[in-house]
Symmetry: C2
Subunit: 219 residues, 2 copies
Amino acid sequence: MSDYIKTIKKSKLFRRVPEEELEDLLEHLDSQLKFYSKDQVVLTAGRRIKRVGLILDGILNLYESDFWERTHQIDQLKQGELLMENFAVSGSVTMHSVTAETASAVLWLNIREILTLDEKHTYNTVLIQSFMREMARKNLQLYTRLSDMDRLTTKEKLLSFLSKEALHHHSNEFDIPLSRQQLADYLSVERSAMSAELSELARQGYLITRKNHFILLKK
Amino acid sequence: MSDYIKTIKKSKLFRRVPEEELEDLLEHLDSQLKFYSKDQVVLTAGRRIKRVGLILDGILNLYESDFWERTHQIDQLKQGELLMENFAVSGSVTMHSVTAETASAVLWLNIREILTLDEKHTYNTVLIQSFMREMARKNLQLYTRLSDMDRLTTKEKLLSFLSKEALHHHSNEFDIPLSRQQLADYLSVERSAMSAELSELARQGYLITRKNHFILLKK
DNA sequence: TGTTATCTGTTGGAAAACCAACAACGATTT
DNA sequence: AAATCGTTGTTGGTTTTCCAACAGATAACA
């Protein structure tokens, strides 16, 4: 535990908790630190869970498998992110399975405890705020990706994504943090077709691009 | 306000708040009831907001507009749902504009107030729980749709969606709550092409369907 | 009952996307 | 400097999807 105490203190969830209250808080949350080796199964779908995971180290993969027993990756979560928070909070049965992409460490927290504490500590307010902030952040992220994907053509998906990047950078000129393959995965399209479409958009005067650098042009 | 007090009491957010505390709570939340006529603009993108909306009546449309000033509908929210909760909680600038699809009533709440109250009322815990539950529920809903859409072909999108429906109904036989057009919109594909693909899936032995009734078959 | 409106499945031509293969480029290593 | 490796853009053939139009089925209504 002590190895990870620094990571915990720096995490979005606990960053604002007063240092002297941290240990007390972790105890109240009935926290458990668990380790997983590469490819180990962390959780399987179909269970009710009470705990939220905070990933202290490593990378985890979320999967779901369908009626015909085919599996499909949903998401990949890294250090600092929350795990299964939606299932834990809503109390619904998990639909996702989790495996470790790399050796990982997860701090499991009984987040509901915080809501039923008798005494009022500073952390009470702080933790709830941080937790809600994280949920809202994730929610917005999902909305953003959904609205990029909710288009019939690759061209429209690209324009939607690039618009948001421009907005985010307060400029029509910016670098994107994704490789072509990563961008294609994000938009759920095929890489080479997307590259071709980017060239086509440049030809049509929507933008200028070279590698990760983009300049959007009003037509 | 009194016209809507019943709706408020029945809402997911306030349902569990003790009746005698409700009025006090609404005051603490600095609540404001606002009305909007059909097509009226409720909010425009690019602002920081502090309040969460609870839709007491009507239907609202969420839009975003891109770099080239083209607008695109993101979502439609109905009575009982929360509005702009992610922006209010995370404190980030709104990217969405909201207009009224029908005449509507929205109760605006300063949700952050609940986290800084001195006294501890029952509602304190209850409201936060309800609020977090709602966020988690919405989050899961977004994840679900994303994973249905995160496929390259219409066939895969359909199989993903139908698998989840089967899981949800604990049976390989079920009715879906969407018309063909609604399903096509949900999956971001073209209706007639989707219908054709459903016929093809039936021909290939994945399922039997007639109107809204489906039977999935192991191959 | 007959009329109308809505929803669904089918079809064919046009457009878009997939897919595999390859070449150009840049960065890194030897 | 040469070789290697990963990334990106291009191309051509094939598949899938879009799109518009239409016909049959179903439900709602007069």
